[in-house]
């Protein structure tokens, strides 16, 4: 039974099914209604998104569930194949070739597991727009205060439409190191940390990440004020994910190098 679940046939069919589903995802994202719904999936944990929107977007929810189920099938298939066939073969004779082959698949399982875990655990809030002196509360009595926002480049780039501004937002016009927000993090009104947050340089406190995704321009009392669009994520697996992912690539590279020359029986 386990050998059937770990068969290459099942691997092949689950991979093909995932390709078809991802292709459907591309087709769905061509329709504006679905583009917005897909974008909303990024603003929260996927599990919460499914619970909240399955009745509004039945097609998209079914599609997400199918992607999840197919990935789970691929996970189980890889796990069965790795633990029965690959590990047994590796244990029989000590061979770098066989061990690296097993490790690649094992690390792939870890990467897939991290993807799955992030769909149901952690905290995620996107598109939080704050101006200087604004506050925002989130899970476990946390609070962030935006103390100050500094935008040294021309603010006209912030009011332009995204497509138009992209051509003008060149390295000559935009200087990421001169634009920042000073953010303070509190829990139960106790100051935990405060950092200067730049684009591409988020604030990190333990597993909490506060990211400036872009600067925004708002009008208050007839004056233009520059604020920030923030994303708050809390994921304890982030570092583990990147480490395992990097190890998988390195092991794969080693496997390619080791097996570069074919064995005589392979020809």
């Amino acid at each position: 039974m386990i050998q059937k679940i770990g068969s290459i046939k099942l691997t092949f069919f689950s991979l093909v099914l995932l390709i078809v589903l991802m292709g459907m995802g591309i087709v769905l994202s061509l329709f504006p209604a679905y583009t917005d719904a897909i974008e909303k999936m990024n603003q929260t944990i996927v599990y919460q998104w499914i619970v909240n929107t399955w009745h509004e977007q039945p097609l998209l929810t079914t599609w997400v569930l199918l992607v999840t189920i197919s990935s789970a099938v691929l996970f189980i298939n890889t796990a069965c194949c790795s633990m029965t066939i690959q590990l047994r073969t590796a244990l029989k004779t000590v061979s770098v070739r066989r061990w690296s082959f097993f490790i690649i698949h094992f690390l792939f399982l870890m990467v897939l597991a991290c993807h799955g875990i992030t769909m149901v655990t952690g905290h995620k809030q996107d598109n939080i727009q704050l101006c200087p002196e604004d506050s925002h509360l989130f899970g476990d009595n946390y609070r962030i205060d935006v103390v100050n926002v500094t935008f040294s480049d021309d603010p006209k780039f912030l009011t332009m439409k995204r497509k138009k501004s992209r051509h003008l937002m060149t390295r000559k016009n935009i200087h990421p190191k001169l634009n920042y927000a000073d953010i303070a993090l509190f829990q139960n009104n106790r100051r935990l940390d405060s950092q200067r947050v730049f684009m591409l340089h988020p604030m990190r406190y333990k597993s909490i990440r506060i990211t400036v995704t872009r600067f925004i321009a708002k009008h208050q009392n007839g004056q233009q004020i520059v604020g920030v669009n923030l994303s708050i994520t809390r994921n304890i697996f982030t570092q583990f994910f990147f480490t395992v992912y990097a190890l998988m690539i390195i092991t794969l590279a080693c496997f390619v190098a080791i097996t570069w020359k074919p064995k005589t029986q392979e020809l």
């Binding site: 092949f12 991802m22 897909i38 990024n42 060149t170 995704t213 994303s231 708050i232």
Partner: protein, 259 residues
């Protein structure tokens, strides 16, 4: 840089590869080789001009993607045709490379022949790795597809028996070479995706996001994985292996140049 520089480079490369392909069809291999080397050198000049004037690697946009991919593809062709296993397929590998390069150049003929806008995030190292390695991986997938198709469509059934054994052995060597190229391609591609994940994490707070770009990127990975996980009847058929192994190349060409 004079405005005519890039169009001149583009049309020169186009002409040289067209001449090389015609000469290969006419079996004038030494002259074809000269034309191909000249085309590769000029494509290399385009990349050097980009690095010198824009102070970055080739990353995105029709012109720089085309020149970088065709430079890597033609360099891989030069290396591959020197391998002992590829001796009997030398002419075909060069011909298929010439055709592939021409197809890519024709696809870009109506697009602006200029470097992509110098987006402010191009100063970030992970952005550079993400886009540049993706183009490099595309070149490896294209070369892998060329190798597979070079060997797969020979007709051993119409040969005498001893010739069939020889042909199958040579075919296996080329297939193994293609396997190495595709696996190297996926290592480069995954390194690009890893960098992209880090960029995404620092920019948007997530290591990956549900988006059209993510679906397309996942398809590339899945297509390469599929070509290495073929069940029995398919894995025994060289043509099925060639068709499935060419899918990552075709999809990434569509992803970079059309969509």
């Amino acid at each position: 840089m004079p405005p005519a520089t890039l169009p001149t480079l583009y049309y020169t490369v186009f002409t040289l590869f067209l001449i090389a392909t015609v000469l290969l069809l006419a079996q004038k291999k030494p002259w074809a080789r000269v034309a191909m080397i000249a085309g590769t050198v000029i494509a290399g000049m385009g990349v050097v001009i980009l690095v010198a004037t824009q102070h970055r690697l080739p990353l995105y946009g029709a012109f720089e993607s085309t020149f970088y991919i065709l430079l890597v593809v033609s360099l891989l062709e030069m290396v591959s045709t020197r391998c002992t296993g590829a001796v009997h397929y030398k002419g075909r590998i060069s011909l298929y490379t010439g055709i592939a390069v021409l197809v890519i150049l024709i696809m870009e003929i109506n697009k602006p022949i200029e470097f992509n806008d110098d987006f402010y995030m191009y100063g970030n190292i992970w952005v550079n790795f993400f886009f540049n390695l993706r183009l490099m991986a595309a070149a490896f997938f294209i070369h892998g597809a060329i190798l597979l198709n070079t060997a797969a469509w020979k007709r051993p059934d119409k040969m005498p028996e001893d010739a069939v054994t020889d042909c199958k052995c040579r075919q296996k060597k080329i297939f193994y070479q293609a396997r190495n190229i595709l696996l190297t391609g996926i290592v480069i591609y995954l390194a690009s995706e890893w960098s992209g994940s880090l960029w995404c994490l620092n920019w948007l707070g997530d290591s990956w996001r549900w988006s059209k770009g993510f679906f397309k990127a996942a398809i590339i990975f899945l297509l390469v994985m599929t070509s290495f996980h073929l069940p029995q009847p398919l894995s025994n058929s060289p043509r099925a292996r060639a068709i499935i192994g060419s899918c990552p190349a075709l999809f990434i060409i569509w992803m970079i140049f059309i969509h």
